[in-house]
């Protein structure tokens, strides 16, 4: 037992798993028709470099799951503008008029979901749950086509869990294995999305030697690959 434990430590020190990924290897993992979750809230906490690589790959017929539609030239708005997105699942698109226009023209399908429901559907998927029961949206058009379950004299909507093929998330500090911290309100949907996709790729701002185990927010076990993006805003 002790001997095995020692060898585990040695293995970690010697050949720690390398999750760093470059642009070409990342693009090779992309396919037409994929569902992709993208972290961020009005592009605060959106991994813009990874979004740019999806743009460059020119994969099409995407289903994007994101809190919002970003801005016309920021965040997932870039993929909506390029016509790569067939379906957007979001809580709000009001600050991206192009998303509204494309929806009106019928070339973008938009499924609007209350924000608290969307994040909990994602959390549920990552947690192995089939769905959640929420009072939000009862007696509104959000209720249409959904099962209403009455418990303790309150009506709840049954909202199914949401997962994706790929999640693109943005972290602040990242260690060699992929433990993550986030920066201020750039956290938002990222920790939940990190648990809810088959493949999870993180754009960290800075690679650090160590993160205090007490402050790790997303454990490395959820992260398949990462890139170190630096701080684009500080550079500009």
């Amino acid at each position: 037992m002790y001997a095995n434990w020692r060898s585990h430590v040695n293995a970690e020190e010697g050949e720690m798993m390398n999750k760093l990924i470059n642009k070409n290897a990342f693009i090779q993992k992309l396919k037409d028709g994929m569902s992709i979750m993208v972290g961020g809230f009005m592009v605060c906490g959106t991994p813009e470099i990874l979004v740019d690589w999806v743009l460059e790959s020119n994969i099409k017929h995407l289903t994007i799951i994101c809190n919002d539609a970003g801005y016309p030239n920021e965040g997932v708005g870039k993929l909506i503008r390029s016509g790569q997105v067939d379906t957007l699942i979001a809580s709000h698109i009001g600050l991206n008029p192009e998303a509204g226009e494309k929806m009106g023209l019928g070339i973008l399908k938009v499924k609007l979901v209350p924000q608290g429901t969307l994040v909990e559907q994602i959390r549920a998927y990552g947690a192995g749950l089939g769905g959640i029961l929420t009072p939000t949206g009862t007696h509104t058009i959000v209720e249409e086509g959904k099962q209403v379950i009455r418990l303790n004299e309150t009506d709840y909507l049954l909202e199914e869990a949401i997962g994706a093929d790929l999640a693109l998330i943005k972290a602040n500090h990242i260690d060699q294995l992929g433990n993550l911290t986030y920066s201020k309100t750039a956290r938002n949907f990222n920790p939940m999305m990190a648990t809810a996709a088959n493949l999870v790729v993180c754009e960290g701002t800075e690679l650090v030697d160590e993160i205090d185990p007490e402050v790790v927010i997303t454990p490395h076990i959820f992260i398949d690959h990462y890139i170190i993006g630096g701080n684009q805003y500080d550079e500009s």
Binding site: F41, M42, G116, E120, P135, T136, T140, I141, N188, M192
Partner: protein
Amino acid sequence: MMNPKDIIAKRVAKELKPGDLVNLGIGLPTLVANEIPADFEVYFQSENGLVGLGPYDEKRIDKDLTNAGGQPVTLMPHGMYFDSSLSFSIIRGGHVDITVLGALEVDQEGSLASWIVPGKMVPGMGGAMDLVTGSKKVIIAMTHTNKGIPKIKEKCSLPLTAYRQVDLIVTELAVIEVKKDGLHLIERHPEVSIDEIINQTEAKLIINDVKVMEV
């Protein structure tokens, strides 16, 4: 008459008590923060993931610190950040004392519409449906009419944000309380008569004891 928005913000601020956890919607409701007396502590929550929202400060702009409208803000002492799941646990779980938001329509039963005008404008509900469903008290802060067209209706004609969740409506003309038996006009602007308010309101108002708004 003062700017209608300032009248509304000032009156809504009177509803807040020391120690309240408050969510202010984007637009007019954010003005309420300017009207809180300095000796009085309330905590502002923002659904993108913080408690302790502070004012915009051009010297402290941080692209990782925004409000729910994506605009730069600051964090007050003892403030903290959290993810969207915890944020909506706070909201849906009944831990927010007061939510203040605008509306396109409010009706006699306390239902509101604020997120879609079919065929015209479809911004989406964002966090509004969760906020009005989960908060202990829901205050609508809006102008009384939309360029003369009443916004306080017998029945909302637009798709609802929530059914029967509104507690108080504050406009530049009146303060209206939503009770089981309907809408009670409880305050009027000092320069506006009860009849003028009735004329600009489609819903039936119950009128017993109407005080004068402090403006």
